[in-house]
Structure formats: C-alpha cells, structure tokens
Point group: C2
C-alpha cells in the first residue's frame, strides 16, 4: 500500500514549493498564520508524566479494535501483542510508526487559492459538524434538511473567517441515511470552492467520497495529495469500532487525511481529571494515527481531540468549562511534541438558544483554541445545544468571533507605522487623535469592524429597534444568503458528479441505517 | 513625606511573614494564585521598541500636569524640565523613581482572612466601577441609587469569585455628588468585609476615605499598610488633571495605593495602533506612578490600564475587540518588565443587554485578562453598555465566569490522583467511568459547577420554562440578596463611622458638583 509514497513525497515537495510561491507577495491567504506564540499551560514535567502514562496504557491496558480483523492483522504484523480484539503495543511502536506522518500538509481545494495548510503555525476554521437539528429565530428547532445543509455551505463560503467548508454541517434528514453522503459531498463541491470533508459513516461512503473527489481533482492528483479531511472518532474509552476503522482504512489507502479524534466526555468516557483524560486521549490518538501509517506510510493524519465534561449532577455534557480548556491546551502541547497537526476547539455550548450562555461558552473555547495553537478547528461556527443543533444565528455570530481571532493571531505590529510616533508628536498632551494624519492613513484597517456588535448609544440602539445580537444575526445570515453567488464550476465536472451520484444511488435501495 | 518608610518596610516584612503563615495549609485563599504561566504575546523586540518610544515621549513630548503647582514643583526638584504645565523627564528618571515601589503588596481587609495580595502571581477580581445607570430585567434601566449600590456590595460579598468589594459599583445618584462618597465607603465597610476602594473625585473626599479607613483599622495601621486601592485615571493623552492629582497626593502621602490608569479609547485618546497606544500608556503610567514615589518613596502603586478602541465609523467605544486584547496583554508584559503590580481587564461590553454580544465581548476580555497575568481586575463583573450601566443579571453572569477563571488558573494537576491510572485500569476499553472508584472519590470537586449554565436536554429545558441565561441570572441575584447576611462589625467602630459621616456631612452644604 506504500507504493505511491516516494511519488507522494515528491509531489508534496513540489506542492510545498508551489505553495510558497503562491503566498509570496500575496496580501491575504485563506487561513490564519499565527504570529503570536502558542500558550503552553502545562509544564514539561506534567506532559512527560502524561506521555509515560499513555505509553503504559498502550502497552498494559491496550486499545480495542472491534470487528475489524484486517486492523488486528496489521497490528500483529507490526509486532503488537493482539489478544482477541485488544491490541497491546510494545513501548515506542506507535511513536516509531508516526515518524512517517507529515508534520504539516496542504489540503487542496478545487479553487487552489483556497488551499489550506494543516499544521505548523497555521489555524484553519471549519463549521460545526454533525447536528441532526437546525434552528433559526424564524422557524425554531427542526430536523435538518438538504436545503439547510446547502444554506450552511453557502454561509461558510461567504464567511471570510471560515477557511473550510467542513463536513456534515447538519444532517439532511430528508434524505435516506445511506445516500445522503452523495448530496453532502456534492453540495460542498458545487456551492463552495473551499476545502471540505468526506463521509465516514461506512467504508463504501468513504470510497464514494474519494471517487467524487477524483472526478473533481483527477485520480492521480487525489492519490498523491490531500483533498479531504475525514473525521475518525475513537469510541472512547480505548476503542475503535468497525465503522470508523473502515472509513479510516479507505481514506488512508487513498492518501486522504484522517482526523483521529478521541471523542470524550470526561467523567463518562475518561477519568474526571484532566491529566488522566490527556493520557487516555494521547494513547487513543497515537494508536489510531499509527494505524494510518501501517496502511500507507506517509499518508497525512491529524491528531484530533474532542473533549468536554459531564455534569456530575445530571450526567449532561457541559461546554466551555475550565477543565475542558485545560485539556484542549494540554492536548495541543502533546500534539506539538509528536510534531503532528492538531485538531480541536470550536465554539461549543450546551445552550438551547443563541443567548449569553452560548456566547460565554463559545468565546471561552474559541480564544483558548486560538492561543493554544490548534491547527484545524472543527465546530468553529454554528454549534448549539451540545452539538445537537446547527443554529443559523449562532453560525454568523461565531463567524464574527472567528474573524476577531484572525486579528488577535496577528499580534502586535511594531513597524514604524505601528509605532505611531508621528501621531504622538502631532497630537501631544490633551489633543485628539481622530483627525491626525496617522489615523487618516490607517483609517480603513485600524480596527476590526464587527458586523454584529452594536456599539451605539442606548438612544440610537432604541431608535434602531432595541435588537439583541441574535436578532441582528438573523438579519445578517439572510442578507448573506441573499448576496450569495455560487463559485464557477466546470460544467463537465459538474455533470460527471451528477452522473456518478445518479448511477450509484440507483444501484442500491434506500435505507435509514 | 518619607518619614514612615522604614517602619512601613518593616511592617510589610512582618505582614509578608504573617501572610505566609496564614496561607500555609490553608485550603482556600481569597484570591487567585495563578499556577499557569503568563501568556506573553508581544516579542521582546517589540517591547523594547515600545519602551524606547515611551522614554522618548517622556523626554521629548512630555506629560502635562494641569492646575497642580505642587506636582510641578516636585518634578522640578526631582530634576525634570518643567515648561509651563508640561513636564519633560530626563531619560531614566521615572524608572529610577519607580525602583522604590513594591513589586507586590498586601491590601488589608477589615476581615484579615480576606486580605488580598496585589502583584506577583496573584489575580484579584473586583466588580465594575463607575456607571451612573443600573439595569435589571425587572426595572429596566434607571439612575443608580444607594440601595442599588448596597445591593451590589452585598452581591460582591456573596460571590466567591469577587475577591474585592471594588469602589463605585454604581453612582448613587439619589445622594448629592459632594457627599455620596461617605455612604459608598461606609457601605463597603458595613455590608462587606472584603477590601475596597476609596473616593478619588476630590482631594477632601480622598481624605475622608482615609479618615474613615482609619476609624476601622487604626491611624497607625493605615499609615503603614495598604487598606484601600484608589483609581487614578490619566486624562489621556499625556495629561493628569488637578482632581486626579489631588486624590493621588492624598493617598500616596497616606501610604494608600494609587492605581494609575491611563484611560484610553484608541483612535481618540491614543494612536489607532496597539504599539503606539502601548508606548503612550507606558509613558503616562510611569509618570503618574513615579509621582507617588516622589510624594512618599515606597508607597504601593499599581500600573493600571484601561484601553479599548472606538468604532471608526461612529466614534462609539467598542469592547472585547482583538486590538484591545493585544494592548491588554502587551501592557501586562510592560508592567512585569517594570516589576510592578498590574491592573487591567474586566468583563467589558458595549451591549445594552445581557445578551450574546455582552457575553462574547466579556468572555474574550476576561480570559485574556487571566492568561495575561493581570493582578488587579477592575470591572470583573456587572459592566454593561460601555460602562454606563451596572446590570444585576450581568453581575452574576460574570461572577460565574470569574469562578471558571479561578479553575483555569489552577492548571493541570499531575499528582497520582490526577493521573487516574487506577481509573483507567479499572474501567478499561469500552467501559464507563461514572461508577469507578476514582470518580466516586473525586465526585465533589471534579468539575466546576456553573450556577447559570443550563446543560439539560432541550426537553428538560422546555419543561423548566425555556429560560435564557439572563432570566436564570435574574433569579440567582435575587436569591443571593435574599440569602445575604451581613458580616459582623464592631458596634463601636460602626458608631464612630456614622458619627464621623454625620459630622462631616453637616459641615458643608449639599452640592451636585
């Protein structure tokens, strides 16, 4: 399975050079290159203990690979100790295997100017993934439809701070479960030209995603470049199931990046302590990521983390909590120590409304996400109700916050213009800076301008209808959808995608599993 | 004016030792001792340039001290070049003077177990300061009254995350301007036993504050220990006015800490660029703080910063913006490089409601406040409408966020219990952690429990009345006021305070200036 490795490496080298050329002199790139240092909240001592514990978990407790003999066989061949479905890893095996994984890679978009760089100092924001429900102030909460899905593709396309089209923006529940992946992948390609994610709910759906991407990018290109990220959740604690392993194997074999993400609600699926949770998720992520390298050494892979806690009273998931922020930051440090790209973060909340709770919890998470140096940020916009619901209003509210994070990531410029000594000399004690030459010169770019914050006087705000932020957000997303214009697509490619979908859809009966 | 210096230093040494004894073995201290590293977003190179520019401002442009011949005379005697009301500082003069200021000091509360440590790795949260208006869901927006003021003293007393009673929690507009400081200081003393702030709106009101504190703590104690923080705003750009200088001189002479705070809306009162703003505020803060050391070498002083930006469209102040976060973080770094305590931060918003805007903006600011290592956080709870309004609901919402910041500040524990290897071994792959021995053992303290976040299912939330966070906050502050019990106060002290106020109030006519 590694026959394309040297070609792939060569391609990656050329791509890196092309990438560098494209960025040179470019005034804007379609993702964040952080110019501020990462925040490392855990001490080296704590991280070394956590790593030793993860190694201990891998060796002593082991990780279960359920109903997937092929994975177990691969692990046996790699020298692991396989007992029934549980794999025990000799010390250092996973780390050794992970040395072939790239520390940074390009995910290609069908519009090359929207390619994103996953890893390093880069941060890529992608929308919420997975909610079965959708909500808006107009229609309340209801099951998602394909129309909703396409609306969110369009909103992400319109949002400068969404660098990525994401994946399951909501479940299009009006389509059969076993066929909706076609329409989701097609919608990402048709209504956006940003990078996107493939289907992971069954191996054949993963293969369909690869086949559709191949129609867009060409077979050879797909086999040698990353054109899809793919969300592979561990079934924590310490388990990977056949569905996720099936998708992981398809994507790894086709050179597409798995985002191997322990999905953890601490207290239920991991210990109640951040250090215990981190050891477990590191063990899980290392085992899952190492498997991709067994399948195809050099295939890109991302260290993913989804961690929150549960309420110890009710068992309900909680979000934006300090413990989850500590785990997020610690996991980012662990990923950097493995020299691998890291996915986490988002704009999480347990709130049922785009209210203050939603905003507090989301802002707490998104700022920590940025300062922790997360590379791929899933759920950056739209998440509501513990991930059960994609909210139109929350989507654009979060989008605005993500734009602010872009500015924060630039840090403090200190060139001559930024020093503004001319302004200080011109204005002097007791003066006013609004009219000075420096202010006029920097007027357009001086401060981030929120589309949603109301900074007016209370009198003006009342005259404007006393609207809260959610009401203003309602107007904004409608305006964005109204202004939406689809990016051009080669009609021959579009036709080939539609033909492929029609043919495949007709080849097996509808089903809701 | 420095005759008490050696005694003060001796006292401070003894106090530090007493402080250390008190903390040993204590399970809770009444402020945050950060166990996570500070986040330094600006490079040393940038900071060195900013410092050089601040020195240049001090020397070349100078700082105006308006209508205060005594300050000008002090500067002349110290070797500064005074031209009319503008002081030009020889290079290094302010830095040299600041060497006598303590890097960390204790502010005493009338209940010693509530003393707070200002500086170092410590963070102290205090409520909003200054709004003329008050708002609640019940009564809407109205001018503040003494009853409101006292309610907020009680709420801050009840809130574990408010380490400080603050100052002008709202303006008690029902009292004459020239006498309301008596009732504010008295209310802080009577209805709370946490540390508080003195009046700064006129030198004689500052003296009244000192006199009232002396009735509580004793004359000698006050002259040798800090029992009040006092907010001295620079009138930016590069100006101190007579009112603030008058209060500063009274407090410095009486060994009470001035929080010298450039109050800046970037774009109006400073350049539009963070680096330019930082140079200006450093120059202003150094000049104001150095003056305290001219008055009484060794008197405690705090490097304060209040910075936000204005909307370049409307001129309205904006909050929680990325530029203001960068300035906050950079100013914290500058204060550390001066080895002085730092005040900034808060839960700022321009919103008129406790809605998503209020929460996004406040959360963005408070997390950056904590990770930047701010020592004294004014406006940590209750701020609404650009500081024009104290909100009951926002007060308790912010209080909840501040509690979360306390947990974040603890960082990731990595002792044996935190490592939880026993739990991982007990549960194993595919298991559930809720019932394991480790979870049971840590059940009570495992996760922060928000009083205001609703994490329930949508069905349960609907059954509970579909309340947003503001509505839940409305119930919480009422419950807190209902549960409030005043801390004990020595009746003789109480009587002496009332006598003092009555006498002083009768000695001059009411006035609203």
């Amino acid at each position: 399975m590694s026959d394309t490795k040297s070609r792939a490496t060569g391609r990656r080298g050329r791509n890196a050079r092309r990438e560098a050329r494209q960025h040179r002199g470019s005034s804007s790139i379609p993702y964040i290159v952080r110019n501020i240092p990462v925040s490392n909240l855990a001490s080296d001592e704590a991280l070394e203990i956590i790593e030793a514990n993860a190694d201990q978990i891998l060796e002593e407790i082991g990780i279960s690979f359920i109903d997937d003999p092929e994975s177990l066989q691969l692990w046996k061949e790699a020298g692991a100790d396989v007992k029934e479905q549980r794999v025990h890893f000799p010390k250092g095996l996973c780390r050794e295997l992970l040395k072939t994984a790239p520390s940074e890679f390009t995910q290609h978009a069908r519009n090359p100017s929207r390619n994103v760089q996953i890893g390093g100092n880069n941060t890529v924001f992608a929308p919420v993934y997975g909610p079965p429900f959708v909500a808006s102030l107009d229609n309340g909460r209801h099951y998602g439809t394909l129309e909703d899905f396409q609306n969110f593709v369009k909103l992400a396309y319109m949002a400068p701070s969404m660098h990525h089209s994401g994946g399951t923006l909501c479940e299009p529940v009006d389509l059969p479960v076993n066929k909706r992946h076609f329409d989701m992948v097609y919608s990402h390609i048709k209504y956006s030209d940003k990078p996107f994610m493939g289907s992971v709910t069954a191996p054949e759906r993963a293969q369909d995603s690869v086949d559709m991407a191949s129609l867009v990018f060409g077979d050879d290109f797909v086999q040698n470049n990353c054109v899809m990220l793919n969300l592979i959740n561990a079934n924590s604690p310490m388990t990977f199931d056949a569905t996720m392993l099936g998708a992981l194997k398809v994507y790894a074999a086709n050179n597409q990046a798995a985002v191997v993400s322990p999905f953890i609600l601490s207290g239920a699926m991991s210990p109640v302590s951040p250090a215990g949770t981190l050891a477990q998720l590191l063990a899980e992520a290392m085992a899952g990521m190492a498997l991709t390298q067994l399948i195809k050494p050099g295939t890109p892979v991302v260290f993913g983390t989804f961690v929150s806690s549960i309420s110890m009273q009710s068992g309900a998931p909680t979000f934006g909590t300090p413990e989850s922020l500590l785990v997020l930051n610690g996991a980012a440090q662990l990923a950097r120590r493995l020299n691998l790209p890291f996915r986490s973060g988002g704009s999480f909340t347990a709130s049922k409304l785009p209210d203050a709770q939603a905003a507090y919890e989301s802002a707490q998470t998104i700022q920590m996400t940025l300062t922790s140096g997360v590379n791929f940020v899933l759920h950056a916009a739209g998440w509501l109700e513990g991930g059960l619901c994609t909210s139109y209003e929350k989507f654009v509210m979060d989008m605005d916050q993500c734009s602010m994070m872009e500015v924060l990531a630039k840090g403090i410029a200190h060139d001559e213009n930024a020093q503004a000594m001319d302004a200080l000399r011109e204005v002097g004690p007791g003066g006013h800076f609004l009219g000075c030459e420096h202010t006029q010169r920097n007027f357009e770019t001086a401060f981030y301008r929120s589309k949603l914050s109301d900074n007016n006087s209370v009198e003006q705000w009342e005259a404007d209808g006393s609207k809260d932020m959610a009401v203003r957000a309602n107007a904004l997303w409608k305006q964005m959808l109204n202004d939406y214009e689809a990016p051009a697509i080669d009609p021959a490619i579009d036709e080939s995608l539609i033909d492929f979908m029609d043919r495949r859809k007709r080849s097996f009966p509808d089903s809701n599993v």
